[in-house]
Every structure is written in C-alpha cells, then in structure tokens.
C-alpha cells in the first residue's frame, strides 16, 4: 500500500505517494529526477549514493524513502547556492579531486559533513571521515587535498564574514 511522504529536498517540499519498499536513492533519482546521486554497489559499501539528511551524511541506497518522511535532504544538486559552488565542490574542481566523477557527488557530500563537524581536520581525520566512500580512480590523495582546500576556504570565509 502506498504511503504519502513529505520530504524537503534542496529547500523544496515534495509530497508524493510512494511504495514503502522504495529506496531513498530511487526516490531521489526516479521520482524527483535528481540523478546526481549515484548507485555504485547496492550494499552501502561504496558511498556513491551519499546525501545529507538533517545534517547527517547517509547512504541513500540502504534507507527507505518512507524513513525520510519529514526530513530535510540536501543532494549534490542542492549544494551550490545562487550559482556559487560550495567550497568542497570548488576544492574538488580546483585540486583535481576527481577523475571519472562517479563517486564524486557522494564523496563531496561526505566531505561536507566531515567539515561541518570538524572545520580544521588533519589529513588523517579526513581519511577517516571518507573511509566509507570508495573511489577507484584517484588513489584518494587529491581528494584529501580537495577537502583541505575547502577547509581553508571555509575558514577564510568565516574570518572575513562572507
């Protein structure tokens, strides 16, 4: 039996009737057409499907859409504001934190979460924070650099009150 859910995604409320078995990732991709959130393993190992749910990075392939009823979700499409890239997005572009780009949205969401908890992380802390996200292209080094770039950028913005 379908269930009505109300989820705020990227600042907009969406009310839909969905099957209780519908995964959150399928809700985002197929119901809302937000295809920036990717599926890489179906077993919550790779982290390509990571989104922000009420401020927490979660793997949307192992959560049901109905479980997100009432929550606020940010996907990769909602991270940039007013055409301005989020510092983590900027970091990934500037520091070559990606190659094929498939893990990138999930990696960026997790990194944003890491930085929201720890604005001044060591490389080690970044690596620990990203251990649930797999990348087959980069060897992770440039990803760590990208997150450090974002951390510096966010501190700079905070300091100048931007």
């Amino acid at each position: 039996m379908k269930k009505t859910i109300n989820i705020n995604v990227n600042g907009t409320d969406h009310v839909y009737e969905v099957e209780p078995r519908l995964l959150l990732v399928h809700y985002l991709r197929e119901v809302l057409g937000l295809t920036g959130t990717h599926i890489g393993c179906e077993t919550s190992i790779c982290g390509a499907c990571t989104v922000m749910l009420d401020g927490q990075a979660v793997k949307s392939c192992t959560m049901l859409a109905v479980q997100a009823d009432g929550a606020s979700i940010t996907t990769i499409e909602g991270l940039a504001r007013n055409g301005q890239l989020h510092p983590v997005q900027e970091g990934f572009w500037e520091q070559h934190g990606l190659q094929c780009g498939y893990c990138t949205p999930g990696m960026i969401m997790t990194a944003a979460h890491v930085l929201s908890n720890n604005p001044d992380p060591s490389d080690e802390e970044i690596r620990h924070g990203l251990e649930g996200n797999l990348c087959r292209c980069t060897g992770y080094q440039h990803i760590v650099d990208a997150v450090q770039y974002a951390a510096r950028k966010m501190k700079g913005q905070a300091a100048t009150g931007d």
């Binding site: 991709r29 937000l34 295809t35 920036g36 959130t37 990717h38 599926i39 890489g40 393993c41 179906e42 077993t43 190992i45 790779c46 390509a48 996907t75 990769i76 499409e77 991270l79 940039a80 890239l85 997005q89 900027e90 990934f92 572009w93 500037e94 070559h96 990606l98 190659q99 094929c100 780009g101 498939y102 893990c103 990138t104 949205p105 960026i108 970044i126 690596r127 620990h128 990203l130 251990e131 649930g132 996200n133 797999l134 990348c135 087959r136 292209c137 980069t138 060897g139 992770y140 080094q141 440039h142 990803i143 760590v144």
Partner: protein, 813 residues
C-alpha cells in the same frame, strides 16, 4: 624552449600547466549524465536472466509465463539473436543470449523488457530453463588435461584457446654465455576493474528505422560494428553514443551482451529500452585481469647483464575469447623494453574455463609478467651480490633502439626515474638496513602509448578529429574518443587551445558519437593522449594556418609574424597590431568559406613483420620506477605499505596535475592488486564466484591507501603531441613487484604470488622459522605441449623482422 609548434617561438601557455578539467564542474554539481541517468518517454526496462550453472546444455527455455505477466512487453532468447560476435575478429565466440549452451554462472539466456524494473525482475523468475549439466572446468590444470567436454569447439584443441611460441635469437648460445641461470615460477591471481559505475545502456529505435544506443563504453566504434553485425542492420543506420564512463580501467572495452539485447528489444517493442547492471552482474561481465601462471628462465653475466630469457605464461581465460589472444601475446611482449635482453623466447597458452571471461585490465596482460620479471631480477641481484638498483640501472634498453622482438623504443627516461625514487626514498640508507619487519623494495615497468595496430586489420587512421570554428569565435572539437575519467576531453581542449591561443574553457568538446564524430578506436591501450592528441594537433594547426593567412592579409604583415595568444591573433613584432580571435575567424571565413579542418593519426609501421608481431608495437613507451616501503607484521602477515615513491617518464605532461592523478590512481590500483584484490571461485562448488559484491571484494579505502610521492620525468618523445607519452596504465606495473620485494627486505620471505595476502605471508614466515625456504608461490607449472617456435633472427643477428622459413628454422636446430 618549448613552443606551440607555430612559426613563432612562443612559450607554451596551456600545455604543461595544471589547468582544471573541462568536464569537472558538471561532475562536482551532479550534472554529468551517466548512462543510467538518461531517460526517454515510454522507456522500458530490461533485465537479463543469467545462468546459475557453470557449464550446461540448454534443453529448453519456456518464456510463456513471463510474457503473460502484466507489465512485461517482450521476452527474447538466443534464437532472436543468432549471430555471434566478439571484440577480436579471431574469436567471434559470444552470443548476446546463449543459444544451446551456457559456459559460466552469469551467462545470459533470456531477456525481458517490462514497464518497470521490478516487473522485469519478477518476470525473470517465471522463465523456465532446463539445463543438462556438463562437467565444469575451473582451473588451468583442468583445462589442459580435460579434453571433453570442450567449452568451445574452436581453438588449439581440447579446452585450449590459443598457443603461441616465438623465439628471437639463438637461445642456446645465450644460456651458454650466462654465468648464472635462474628458473622461477610465479602466479598472479585474476582481479577485476570494479568501476564505481555499473554498466548501463539505453537503446532507441526511431520511426525511420534508425537505432541509437547510449552506453557506458570505452569503445563506441567497436560496439557500433558489433551491433551492425548481430542486429543485421547497416552500420549507417546505427548511432552509438558513449556516455561519460564512471570508471573503465578496461572493463568497458568489449561489446557487451546487454548492449545488443537492449538494441534488439528496442527494435521489437518500438520503445526505448534501458538496462542497468546490478553490481553482481558487473562481476560476471568482468573481462578483468587474467590469472596467469608463469615460468621464467633467465641467464645473466656476473654484472647482471641478461644473456637470454625464456618466458612461459599460462592464462586462465574464463569462458570466452574476449581480448584473450591479444592478452596472451601481451604476457610475452614487453619484457624486452626495460632491460636489455639480447635473446628472448616466449611461449604462451590461454585456456577456457567455466568462469567469467577475462580481458584487458589496466596494463593489459603486462602486469603479470612484469611482476615475475621484477621479482626474479631481485633474486638474481641477491645471488650475484649486486644492488637491486645497480642491476637494473646498468642494463637499460638504450633510447632509439630496436629490441630482440622488434619493438622500437624511442625515448627512454627509465634511468632518471630510477635515480629519482632511489634518492627520494633514501634507498642507500634503508635497503637491508631497516629493522626486522620493515623493508624497502624497488621495481620498474613500461607500457605502450597506444597499440600500434587496430583490432581489425585496416589501413585507416586510428584517430580522427574534426574542428569547426564559427564566426562568433567558438571552437568545437569533435572526436570519437571517450572520457573515462582519464581526462581525454580536457586533453583535446588543451591541445587545441594551445595552438589557437584561446582558453581551454572556450572550447566545446563533442566526443564519442558515431554520427557526429570521426572514428577514434577507443579509450584503451593508453592510446588517447598520443593518438587523438596528434590528430587534434594536426586539425588545430590546419585551422591556424587558414586564420594566419587571412589575418596577415588584413594586417598587412608577413605570415610568419602572426601569432595566437590570449584570444588574439597579432603581429609578434608589434603586439598591439592584431585582431580578436573571433575577428580572425571572421576574416578566414570571408576568405575561405566555412572554417572546418580535420586531423588524423596513424601510428608508424612496426619493424616486426613476423606472425604475432602485431601485439607490442607502439609509437612510444612510457617508463616508471617505484620504491615501496612496507611494514610486515610477523605475527599476522599483514603488510602495511607506508609510502610509495614513484617516478614516471611522461615524455611531456600536457597537464601535470592530471598526470599526477593518473600516476597516483595507478599506484592505488597496483596496491589493491598486490595486497587484497582477487576474483576467486569455489572450484569444488560449481565454480561459484566467491564474492560478486563490494561487501566481499576488498579494495583499498582511504585508510589503506598510503602517501605517494610522485616525480614526473620529462623527456619529450618525437612521436607524442608536444612530446607526450602515456600515464594511465604504466605506473601500475612496478607496484606489485615492489611490494613483494619490500616484504623480502622486511622479513626475508618471498611471496611469488599476487595478491600477497596475510595468510600467504604468514605461512611463508612460519615455514622460514622452521628452517624451510620461506617462500609462498607455485612450485611448478603444468606440462604443455608447446608448438614448434616461430623463429626470428634478432636485429643484432642481422634479422629483418621476418620469421625464418620453417625449413631454415629446422636446419638451424
């Protein structure tokens, strides 16, 4: 000074600079459309029903219940797609859906198109397939000894797919000259690409009978050919669009059954049909690294100079041919391009087993023999009392030379690569000097910059580029190559921007669309930077020539004075006199008509003319050297790689940041292979894949991946665009042998097998503690009836690259 190849000696403005990638903003914002992200109105979803038995005859397939399920639109079986295909002309041994036999768990037997994916899944359970099981063949040894049943009815008899035997020079003389002869046996386990993106394809058959396929493929041109063949429609009515690949590493280089199936279903239903493989299915698609058992006999002088090498490789090919014939030759091709090997013999055999087919993975057929070679050299160095650095450094293949097996080496920066990593790692103070449990190891490698020959024989270019300039100043680069993350879109933009003096972000790059872009053979064999780069360079230079003539006329200055930079064309002697780039295009368009130019690239002919000479030649070879420092826990056998120093001879970096990314990614993948990644099967339980899931197939996370210190050695190669060579694959090669060489330095045990998992290390450590050899690895290789070798005199022996006539070869015996 490096210039942009124009008449004016201007410094390079784009090439060599760490520009951002032109396609990366879309990837950071979730805007890139991967194959599974594309939807069309009225689209259906397809699923493939796959065999759950490894080897069986199909007695019957009953699809009646499935087709009756509401929501199912079509069901097809092998009878609907009777024409075989395969990537190589010599092994057209696949059917999109098996007709009368299944050959591995995962081989597809039927396909469903339904209104939604759930219905398609449900319908799979309703298809009844009756199998008559056959004995399954699960190992190289089985395949060599079991004549019947045969997995295929072609090949070199029984379950042998291919045997090759090549001999370059007088081996007897070579071994007679040696002061030391070593024979060693190695095993390199198979592993898989594990791209983060699961394969997906979408087909649309339109009202006027034309088919479009969007697919996550590295080789749209070969998919195009396979579709035309299997669907029996003219290639001119088929359009293949390769979508940005969410990781390839060789795993998306074959034409795949799911691509043909959705195309067929789209034709039958008249509706768009999409398929996205599950992660489990991606493991069955595979085409990954071949498991290879190797025996190598090498003769050396006291100073470490090799006098002769005899190399044997036995490849477990899995259930189909795929690239396997090429893979077999590759396990014997590139041994000769690093250290001088004056006489060389190679014997290789590939067998069929009831497992997912193997094919090309990053390094295609070369990491396995490189592992054997680099570990054996370490053993030889120890036996001769030489330093592992010196034994390699002293005997490098000289630049501009031809090897015993007729590979033409151009630039070779390996010596400098070795020097860099030896110095940076403080090798001299660490090798044999670190405390027990910590060690350091060195290894080198080399790889192709594009296969010298196409997959199907023809005289046409390997890469083509069309350039269109419009009067607003827009530049569109059209090329058949596909960006698989390696940055090929960016490379095209950088090269064209350099030549035309514009910003790479001004350029529109349109790639991998068989209707709109000229053929490029695909993103494999590390060919794209060199080949499409050269094609782009030619097209851009031709466009610049037209613009130069028009601008010189307008400004009334000599042609040789016109230069292009900062979106302007101007007089180099009087930079204020000039026009904007858009005005330059307008002037040229007024003078010559619409401005479009083409460029193409064909690799130089190889000096080898013998049968089998097609695999190994390349316009250039890249070189890498790596030092690995590792901790080995003697209580658990766990290897922790603390640091990798790697130097790569790139010729010239078109973009050093992208080059570093490729080097580090290769190191990462090499470490995964060295330490943990393996495709293994329960041989005694019907060849079931042990772990077709990311839960069990281990790959390094951020925590296992160590610091990498990368050095780029720039020794421009005359065949590369601006001197550039490859970087996507070569830097993987030294990593696995460097790891096990470091293990030996740490705890004194030889792990002659990849992956060097903790159980193996621990077993070797315990055996050593009991006074035994302290080695883990195969003891021998099974007997093979090798064919009489095809004999070729080496260049040093006065050979001309042709095989000796059979009689002469026999008389010589």
């Amino acid at each position: 000074m490096a210039t942009n190849n124009g008449d004016n000696e201007q410094p390079l403005k784009v090439v060599g600079k760490p520009f951002r990638k032109v396609d990366a903003r879309a990837k950071c914002t979730g805007q890139t459309l991967f194959a599974d992200d594309i939807t069309l109105p009225r689209m259906l979803f397809a699923k493939l029903l796959r065999s759950h038995v490894p080897h069986a005859l199909i007695k019957s397939i009953d699809t009646s219940k499935a087709i009756a399920l509401p929501g199912v639109v079509a069901v097809i079986t092998g009878r609907d797609l009777p024409i075989p295909y395969g990537i190589l002309p010599v092994s057209q041994d696949e059917h999109a859906l098996c007709i009368d036999k299944v050959r591995f768990i995962g081989d597809p037997v039927a396909a469903i198109a339904a209104l939604d994916e759930d219905t398609a899944f449900e319908a799979m359970d309703l298809i009844e397939v009756e199998y008559e099981p056959l004995e399954s063949i699960s190992t190289i040894e089985d395949a060599l000894s079991i004549e019947q049943p045969r997995i295929h009815d072609y090949g070199s008899g029984g379950n042998i797919h291919k045997k090759v035997s090549l001999e370059f020079g007088d081996m007897e003389e070579g071994f007679a000259e040696a002061d030391l002869i070593r024979e060693d046996v190695f095993f390199y386990e198979g592993n898989t690409h594990l791209p983060m993106e699961q394969h997906a394809a979408l087909a649309h058959f339109d009202a006027d009978g034309k088919l479009t396929l969007w697919s996550a493929t590295q080789t749209p041109h070969y998919v195009h050919r396979a579709l035309a063949k299997t669907l029996e429609i003219p290639a001119s009515h088929i359009r293949v669009i390769a979508t940005p690949n969410g990781g390839g590493f060789g795993g998306k280089s074959d034409p795949f059954n799911h691509e043909i199936v959705v195309a067929k279903l789209a034709m039958i239903t008249g509706r768009p049909v999409k398929v996205t493989l599950t992660r489990e299915e991606v493991f069955y698609c595979h085409r990954g690294r071949h498991p290879v058992l190797m025996w190598v006999k090498t003769g050396v002088k006291r100073d470490g100079a090799i006098t002769a090498m005899h190399f044997r490789s036995l490849l477990d090919g899995g259930a189909y041919g795929s690239y396997g014939v090429a893979s077999t030759f590759y396990t014997g091709a590139l041994q000769t391009v690093t250290y001088n090997i004056p006489r060389y013999k190679f014997e290789g055999v590939r067998v069929f087993t009831n497992k997912p087919p193997c094919g090309p993975k990053r390094g295609h057929g070369t990491p396995q023999p490189r592992f054997a070679l680099e570990v054996q050299i370490d053993k030889i160095a120890e036996e001769l009392g030489l330093d592992p650095v010196e034994i390699r450094r002293r005997h490098l293949v000289p630049p501009d030379s031809v090897t015993a097996n007729y590979l033409r080496v151009g630039s070779n920066g390996l010596g400098e690569c070795i020097d860099k990593v030896v110095e940076a790692s403080d090798w001299k103070n660490k090798f044999q000097k670190l405390p027990y449990g910590r060690g350091i190891g060195l290894a080198c490698g080399s790889y192709l910059c594009g296969a010298g020959l196409p997959i199907y024989w023809n005289d046409m270019p390997h890469s083509g580029v069309q350039l269109r300039l419009d009067r607003q100043g827009g530049v569109c680069v059209m090329c058949g190559s596909i960006d698989i993350g390696q940055g090929s879109d960016s490379i095209l933009a950088y090269i064209v921007a350099e030549v035309l003096g514009i910003d790479p972000f001004d350029i529109r790059v349109l790639t991998a669309d068989t209707d709109l872009t000229p053929v490029d053979l695909g993103s494999y064999s590390s060919r794209v930077t060199l080949m499409t780069g050269n094609a782009a360079l030619q097209a851009a230079e031709r466009a610049r020539e037209l613009l130069t003539i028009a601008v010189a006329e307008k400004l009334d200055v000599p042609i040789e004075n016109i230069t292009f930079a900062e979106r302007r064309a101007f007089d180099v002697e009087n930079p204020d006199v000039g026009v904007s780039f858009a005005e330059a295009v307008q002037l040229a368009e007024a003078k010559f008509g619409t401005i479009g130019t083409v460029g193409s690239y064909t690799p130089p002919r190889s000096p080898g003319k013998f049968k089998g000479a097609g695999v190994g030649p390349s316009p250039a070879y890249s070189y890498s050297a790596a030092v690995v420092e590792a901790d080995v826990d003697p209580e658990t056998g766990i290897i922790t790689v603390e640091r990798v120093w790697i130097a790569h001879d790139i010729g010239r970096s078109i973009n050093p940041a992208l080059v570093m990314g490729q080097v580090e990614g290769s190191v990462y993948m090499g470490l995964g292979e060295a330490l943990m990644e393996e495709m293994t099967y329960r041989g005694n339980r019907n060849v079931v894949h042990k772990f077709p899931s990311l839960l069990e197939y281990k790959s390094p996370t951020t925590l296992e991946m160590c610091d990498v210190k990368t050095f780029l050695v720039e020794d421009p190669d005359p065949n590369g665009p601006f001197g550039a060579k490859e970087v996507g694959q070569g830097p993987l090669l030294p990593i696995p042998p460097a790891v096990v060489n470091a293990v030996y330095d740490a705890v004194g045990v030889r792990i002659d097998e990849v992956p060097a998992s903790p159980d193996k290390v621990l077993k070797a450590i315990r055996e050593k503690a009991q006074g035994k050899e302290g080695r883990y690895g195969p003891k021998s290789v099974p007997e093979v009836e090798w064919p009489a070798p095809l004999k070729v005199l080496t260049p040093a022996e006065g050979g001309d690259g042709r095989e000796l006539p059979r009689e002469a070869a026999h008389m010589k015996d």
